[in-house]
Each structure stands twice: as C-alpha cells, then as structure tokens.
Amino acid sequence: MPLVRTRGIILRSLKWGDADRIVTVYSPNFGKIRGVARGARRMKTRFGGVLEPFGLVDLSLFQKTPESLGQISQIDLVASYSSIRENLTVMTAAARMVKMVEAITVDRDPNPGMYTTLVHGLKSLRPEADVALSALLFQIHVLGHTGFRPQFDSCTECGQLAKQHIPQWFSPRLGGVVCHDCGQRGVGRMLSLSKGSVAFIEQARRLSIPNLSRLKAIGSVRIEVETAMEAYFYAVVGKSLPTFEQWVS
C-alpha cells in the first residue's frame, strides 16, 4: 500500500531538519500515521500553512513500506477549528486531547470510534465553554475506546463484587476500584473515589461526546474524577499531559 489517501486530524507538527516538518495524523481508516512535508517551513511551500495541530485535513501520503516514514505529497485543509486558537485555556484543552490520542494509540491501528471522538471533542471546544470539563469527559471516552476502561463493578485486586464500602478507593496502577479489605492490606497508591464520582464516570461514558454538555460535575466529584483519571492515564501511557496551570506565572 504505497499511496495512502485519507482524512484525518493533525496531532502534531514537528520541525524537522532545516525547513521540513514531520506531521502526525490520526485517521479513521489507518489510525495514527506520519509523514514528512518537505519544505513546509519555507515561504513558497505547496503545503500553504495547513500543517498545524488540530486541523482536519485530507492528505496523500506515499510510503515505500508501512514501517518507513512517508512523504506527504498533498494535504488540504477541511476545517481548522479556529476558535481553538483564541485563548490559552482552549488551546491547552485541545492540546490535552491530541496528546491523549497520540500517547495511547500505536501507529497504523485503526479505531474509527476514537477518531469520531477526537473530531467531536475538538469541535466542542469553544472559548465560552467549560473546556477543562470537555477535556476530562474526552479522557474518559478515550480510555473506553482503547480497552483501558476503568473497572468499577468489582475489586481490581481480589475480584470481589463492589459493595457499598465507604470509603471506596481507586488504584491508578490496577485501573479500577479496590475493595475495603484490599485497600487495608495496601495495593500501592490509592485515591479516594466516591460512589457519586463512579456514577459520574459511568454516565460520561454512556453519553456520546455531543451530548456530554448536559453533564455537570461539581465540587469534590470533579476534583476526584480529575485526579483519578489523570493518575490512571499516566499509569497507562507513562507520560503526563499538558496542564492548565502551566500558564499561570
């Protein structure tokens, strides 16, 4: 399959050599693919400024072998989601989304559900919205799409069915809840996760991204869910995500 034509979202655009860029794209049919755009940083570039992250593009990629780094022969912008560039908080939320997809997927492993989630996720980002919440809900969906769905129905250590134990714990390493007994014995780092927080995550997962705006998380639920998902995501991919706090100086 030397020539690949596909639509996709640009996850990353890396300066390469003197005037090139390496572009990573997430596509519905091929998953994550990457290619070199020769001369992309020069004045007279045929890529005409469409290689920036978050853009929805149609691209043609030529690859000698599936393992080799391809050459981008053509790329056209379909949508740029320009509202993402309006402020730093929105940009950070978008950066978190593309980073999540980049970190949790492997090259050339198609996952149309993940792709749709990414498109809807970026579309949902508007300066007036609670974009940190959008990014959190997106994170819950991304984990669900990759077989890393957190386990809530039984203890991840002993398999015992989850009962109304209070307090309830979440283990980022085990990726789910831990019963009271196992928690007492100690299974590494544990975070508190109330029944309300578990219910919130379950509900977020059932709703599709465009319908998620109905969901609200307040106070301790929001903090618990954010902390648990961030720690779990880190345990899964071994990389931390961009934070909203990095702009506060």
Binding site: M43, G48, G49, L51, Q246
Partner: protein, 211 residues
Amino acid sequence: MADITSSTSKANGQPQGLLMRLTRELVRLPGIGQKTAQRLAFHLMKTDTEEALRLAEAIREVKEKITFCTQCRNIAEGPLCAICLDPKRDTSSILVVEEPSTLHAIEQSRAFRGLYHVLYGALSPLDGVGPADIRTHDLENRVQQGGITEVIVATNPTIEGEATAIYLTKRLKPLGVKVSRIAYGIPVGMDIEYADEVTLLKSIEGRRDLG
C-alpha cells in the same frame, strides 16, 4: 558502512571508542540522526587534521567569545549587543522574535529601527513549554522599566507563536504599552526567517493591535 555503535561493544580498540564518542556528540545536534552522525564522524576522521581542527576552533571561539546581550538576549560580544549599543535605534519599541535568525532576517530587510527581544523558543501547550522556559519575565521587566510604547510580537505563525502572542498580550497590556502582532503575508506554519525582505517589510508595516 559499519555500524559503530553495535561493533564497539565487541571491539576493545581505542579508535572505535573515540569515533563512537564523536558520533554520540554529533547525534545531539538538532536534525542529526544516528546515520548522519556516523557519516559525519567518518568524514571528520578522514579529513585533513587542519580542516577538522578549524571546526573545533570555530566552536570554541563561539562558546568563549559570544555571549547573550543582557538586555535583549541577542547574541553579543560583550554585555550588550550591537543593536542595543547603537545610539541611532529607536528605543521606544521592542520587536519580539523566537530566534536570533529571525532578528537577522528582519535586520537585513531594514524594516525595523527599534530594539529587539529574543525568546529562544515559543510557548507550547503541546510540549509543555511554559513562560519560565522562554523567560518572559525578562521582557516584562524591560517594559516595566519604562520608555517603551510599543511591543511588536513577531513570533512564527504557528500554534506556538500564537500562544506566545496571546500570553505576552495578557502580561504586557496592563503595563500600559501597545502590543501588536505582525501581519501575515507569511503562510501559517512557516518560519519567519525564510520570508523575503518585501514580505517582512509589509508584515511589520501592516501589524495590528492585540488585546
């Protein structure tokens, strides 16, 4: 070509060890991969001693004699760079660039007669480059000292360049200066340093207010 890195584990010989060390140093340079580094290392090994040492000497002189301007962080041969020392420059405006190469391109175009500020990078929401990494405080301090009426942000037309412009506007506007962004006849994603002189001139003339 022999693969230096894999063959040296078996070989105890000094020469391979030294070549490997050179390769390791070269591979740290931006845009240089393992294969290129090996090719360069072999090339340097075969080159005239005098020619190879000229390179070493040039690197040493750059590191010993060139410093960063304490005011604008441009490259300098003393505490202040040639631009900051020039009495004919307009000291009421500062043009902010990501890299000294962009400063150089703008100087060539003669489109700007004020002072500069070099960030050595740009804020990146994607790569976690924050304000402290590009020392935005240095610029804020310069503006706070007074005498500046306009700051022109000439970062690249990329996500990183945009993020930097937004952040600087937020920080500098409250200090009572005009903050503007150069106009782009320059395509999104490109490096400003590659723009021609006419385009640079138009970009600076056509700058628009931010914030």
